[in-house]
């Protein structure tokens, strides 16, 4: 006791050595999560609550905010521009997701065959677009699909087809944008489906072979049903992505021509540029509700088949 008092540093060290390790073990997790929690609360939790409040005001970024109740929501829900942005996203969804799932399953099934030559090359090549920066690719898209000078029209011209205004006509802007999205993300879907395929037991196919089931039949009766969960997951992911799509129209079409590519995500951005923050916040929440409802619906639909 006296010795401990005499040497101050030792006193401080002694109790730590005694109950230290256990105490430290109890305190350690708090220290470990603290930096994360600080950033998380400041830049995720707080803004989320702030958006919720903002969506009931008419705030334009400066001055005092007035509480307007549900006005922003009713304004949006009765605004044709809001519905047309959802409509544009829905059309893009139709142009993208079904095509992507069919293509994805076909490619994944082919790549799942260990005897396929150049398998490694295909797997790497298909994922290249997913890795490339979207903005760079979108710029390339603008050049490739230019009506007068683009490589696409030059190529089609070889077959005597007339020049098409891929990005300048409302009819073609959406499909051209959808093609960019398909090109960019299909490799990623293939990888997800491949991981799903790898969990299917090969003996099922051997049995089907013995029963004389054709390859097409096996694809429909074995692969697709067993891949349902993975497919459902992929559909939900892409639905989220399509309804949030923003960078593609921002770089390639700026929402035009005639708002034909003003997606739900791009429309939301328009509120920000006009400093119409209350409406923007309300739009965010409507979009969240829609996206979550759609995701739940897909999950339900795919489960119902069980």
């Amino acid at each position: 006791m006296t010795a401990a008092v005499a040497t101050a540093p030792a006193t401080r060290r002694a109790p730590r050595a005694g109950r230290g390790p256990r105490m430290r073990r109890r305190l350690a997790p708090y220290v470990f999560v603290l930096p994360f929690v600080a950033v998380f609360v400041a830049f995720s939790v707080y803004p989320l609550f702030f958006t919720a409040r903002l969506s009931f005001t008419d705030w334009r970024g400066t001055g005092a905010a007035t509480w307007v109740g549900w006005d922003n929501y009713t304004y949006l829900l009765t605004n044709p521009a809001f519905w047309s942005s959802l409509g544009n996203s829905a059309v893009l969804w139709l142009l993208i997701v079904p095509v992507q799932m069919v293509l994805g399953v076909l490619v994944a099934v082919l790549l799942n065959n260990a005897k396929l030559r150049l398998r490694g090359l295909y797997r790497v090549a298909f994922i290249v677009p997913f890795v490339t920066p979207l903005v760079a690719v979108a710029q390339i898209w603008v050049v490739l699909f230019d009506q007068r000078y683009g490589a696409v029209n030059a190529f089609l011209g070889l077959f005597g087809l007339p020049d098409t205004g891929w990005l300048t006509t409302s009819a073609w802007a959406k499909p051209t944008l959808a093609l960019l999205f398909l090109w960019k993300t299909t490799g990623f879907i293939v990888i997800i489906l491949l991981s799903g395929l790898q969990s299917i037991n090969a003996s099922i196919y051997e049995a089907a072979d013995l029963d004389g089931a054709s390859k097409t039949r096996q694809l429909w009766s074995i692969t697709v049903p067993l891949l349902r969960r993975t497919l459902g997951f992929a559909v939900v992911l892409q639905t989220l992505a399509v309804f949030q799509m923003f960078a593609e129209p921002f770089v390639v079409t700026q929402g035009g021509p005639y708002n034909s590519t003003t997606t739900a995500g791009y429309y939301l951005y328009n509120h920000i540029t006009r400093a119409d923050l209350g409406t923007g916040a309300a739009n965010s929440f409507l979009l969240v509700v829609l996206v979550m409802a759609l995701s739940l619906l897909f999950v339900r639909l795919l489960r119902a088949k069980d």
Partner: protein, 286 residues
Amino acid sequence: MADTEARTRPRIGSHLFLMLLLAAFLFPVAWALLSAFKPADEIIRSPLTFDPTQFTFDNYTAMFQDVPIGQGFLNTAVVLLFKGAATMFLAPLAAFAFAKYQWIGKNLVFGAVLITLMLPTIVLIIPLLLEMKELGWVNTYQALILPGAVDAFAIFWMRQVISAVPDELLDAARVDGCGEFAIFWRVVVPVIRPGLAGLGVLTVMNIYNDFVWPVVAASTERMATLQVVLSTLAQNITGNRIGADYATVTGELLAASSVALIPLLVLFILLQRHFINGILAGSVKG
């Protein structure tokens, strides 16, 4: 040809299909990389040919003159360094606390993490922007680095990875007198290295390609990241050179896009396995 035969060796049709798709997938990037070395008028006059005798660096030299792409690279590098380091260090550390310790509020915080994973990112853009304004951080590195510096997805994924580390390993280290942080640093980190590699490439890819937040929060020329510079390219070129013709703009655009593509392509080719693991794990994000 019998069906069993087909299972062992894919038919010619499958190869044809895959080859066509391969061509379609590689064409845009390959075309851009090659065309950037063509004389500008040739790119628009005959977009489908490549004449090696006319090989030129003109588009690159013009682009480096007209476009602040060096500044863009620098800004992206700064963000990559700080945001990347924060994610790579703090996310596994917090995940370690989630996976291997009992503490008050753990489930609450983790539940919040899961909820943010499901929210579309654009929901937070407006309030975050306002928060940046309040802090005086608009057009600063802080704005580019701090929000999302410790990605919720990284926590979620690393928690899975660290849960698989056997507790006996940690206890053995404790018996040897290891402190709690030393256990993380000397035992956990070496064991989860493959997962960390996947997280690393995914983090680099996400930060390098990130566009929506940077364009909203820091779009001045001094603060613009590479992707933001690229996105305003066409306007910049025509603005800097009054009367710049379409050919010049296109040439510079392709050169700039190539310059932005190449670092990630090289990284991808070198680390493709980690990339694919990272992307697969990242897909849980939603």
